[in-house]
Structures are given as C-alpha cells and as structure tokens.
C-alpha cells in the first residue's frame, strides 16, 4: 500500500480550518455560522485521525469519537437557540440579534 504522507492531511486540515474561520467571521446567517463551526471541528478531527494512523495509536480515534458526540450535542443546542431567537426576533442575522446588550 502506498501511503499518503501525513503532511498532506495536515495541510488539507489547515486549509479547511481556515475556510471555516473565514466563514464564521464573514457570514451573518446564524445557521451558516454553525455549519462553519462544524467545518472547523471536522478539520481538527482529520488531524486527529491522521496522527492516530501515523503513530499507530487508537487514542486519537477515541478522541475523535468524543469530539463527534460533543459536536452533535452542540448542534442540537445551537439550533434550539436559533429557533428560540427566531421566534423572538424573526431573523437569524446575527447583526440584528442584540437582546443580550444592556
């Protein structure tokens, strides 16, 4: 089996993480910000799996399992918050959501 070098996975993961960061900073739609956060979490997962395969250790994959569980919980809570906010403000534009401001 011809192995792909680890750096390729790391660079790919860095690119995807940066795309996710750009998405979080530039987009104003709360749901798309969520999806960008998922992108960032997944790029970190890719790094974990890459190192786990490289070092021959299962701990990285176990950690990815936990990250996925927490990401699922975060998505459920976050979308519930979005629904609750939409019910109050009729928008998901994060610029117009300022009810925490005093």
């Amino acid at each position: 089996m011809q192995a792909i070098p680890l750096e390729y996975y790391l660079v790919l993961s860095a690119i995807i993480f940066s795309i996710g960061t750009i998405g979080v900073i530039t987009r104003r739609n709360a749901i798309i910000i969520f999806m960008s956060i998922e992108l960032m979490l997944n790029s970190v997962n890719l790094t974990f799996v890459g190192f786990a395969a490289n070092l021959g250790d299962a701990s990285g994959q176990v950690f990815v399992f936990f990250v996925m569980s927490v990401a699922a919980a975060e998505a459920a809570i976050g979308l519930a918050i979005v629904i609750a906010l939409f019910r109050i403000k009729q928008t998901v534009n994060v610029d117009e959501i300022n009810i925490l401001k005093w």
């Binding site: 890719l46 395969a53 250790d57 994959q61 399992f65 459920a76 629904i83």
Partner: protein
C-alpha cells in the same frame, strides 16, 4: 488527492453560497469526502460514524431548521463588503499561512507504519479502548447527551401560558 480537492471545494461552497440549503448540501458532500479520507487513514469505524452522525443526524437537523424557519436568500450579501469582510479574509489567510508553514517546517514525522495502523480503526479495537481505558469519559458523554436532549427541548418549546 481527489478527495482532498473535493473536500476543499465543497467547503468553499459551504461558506460562499448565499442560499442556506445549497450551503448545507455542499457540507454534506464535504462530510462524505472526509469520510473517504478517514478510510484512507484506516479509520473504518470513524468513517461510518462520520456519515451516520454528521451527514445523517446533524445535517438533517440543520436542513430541518432551515425549512422550519423558511429562510430566503440572504439579501444583498455583497453590499456589506465592510471592514469585517476584509478582516475575516486577512485573519483566515494569516491562519492558513501560519498553520501550513508550521506543518511543512516540521516535516520529519511522516513515517507511516501501515502494519500497526491497519488494526486500530476497527470497531473491535475501538470498542475495547472505549470501554476499558476510556470508560469514565464515555459515561460523561452519556450524561452530556442526556442533558442536551432536555436542554434542547426546553429551549425550543413554546412558552407556556401561565
């Protein structure tokens, strides 16, 4: 290579398209590509979980919320080329540059020992690890998920008249 290119492409579509549904579909494609990448890294269990949890559960939730809220196109995305837009691109590019130089300069760690790597990603091995060495974290994850269910229901339900 193909998987990586498609993953980057669909990630860009995810943050660049104006319509949330199109964005979500691109993200599903991205998750499938990542799953393929996990397979190339001998992580079979995680590849299956990636499709089940992300492309299945989370994206169904996202698409459901998008349809529930009946969002239209984001109006005039391009009109708001503001300082935040520039700032976002500068930060993102700087981060990408930083991470990549970091990885490339430390390029002495690519000894891929395939014979040990084949066995670690199987359900058998991961299950053993999870329920012996990582038993406390997995119990905590159970508690967290239970709390999440309750919290999501409380947050999303309508206010009761009292």
């Amino acid at each position: 290579m193909v998987l990586g290119t498609l993953a980057i492409g669909s990630a860009i579509i995810t943050i660049a398209s104006r319509h949330p549904v199109r964005s979500a579909m691109a993200l599903v494609l991205h998750f499938f590509m990542l799953s393929g990448l996990y397979l190339t890294l001998n992580a079979q269990f995680l590849a299956a979980i990636q499709i089940l949890v992300y492309a299945g559960a989370i994206m169904v939730l996202v698409v459901f919320v998008i349809m529930l809220l009946n969002l239209s196109n984001e109006e005039k995305l391009k009109l708001k080329v503001s300082s935040r837009y520039v700032l976002g691109w500068v930060f993102g590019s700087a981060l990408a540059f930083l991470l990549m130089t970091l990885y490339i300069t430390h390029s002495s760690l690519s000894q891929f020992n395939a014979e040990t790597a084949v066995a670690i990603g199987t359900v058998n091995n991961l299950g053993n690890e999870l329920f012996t060495n990582y038993i406390v974290p997995i119990e905590l994850i159970g508690v967290l998920l239970t709390g999440t269910i309750v919290g999501a229901i409380v947050l999303a339900k309508k206010k009761l008249e009292n």
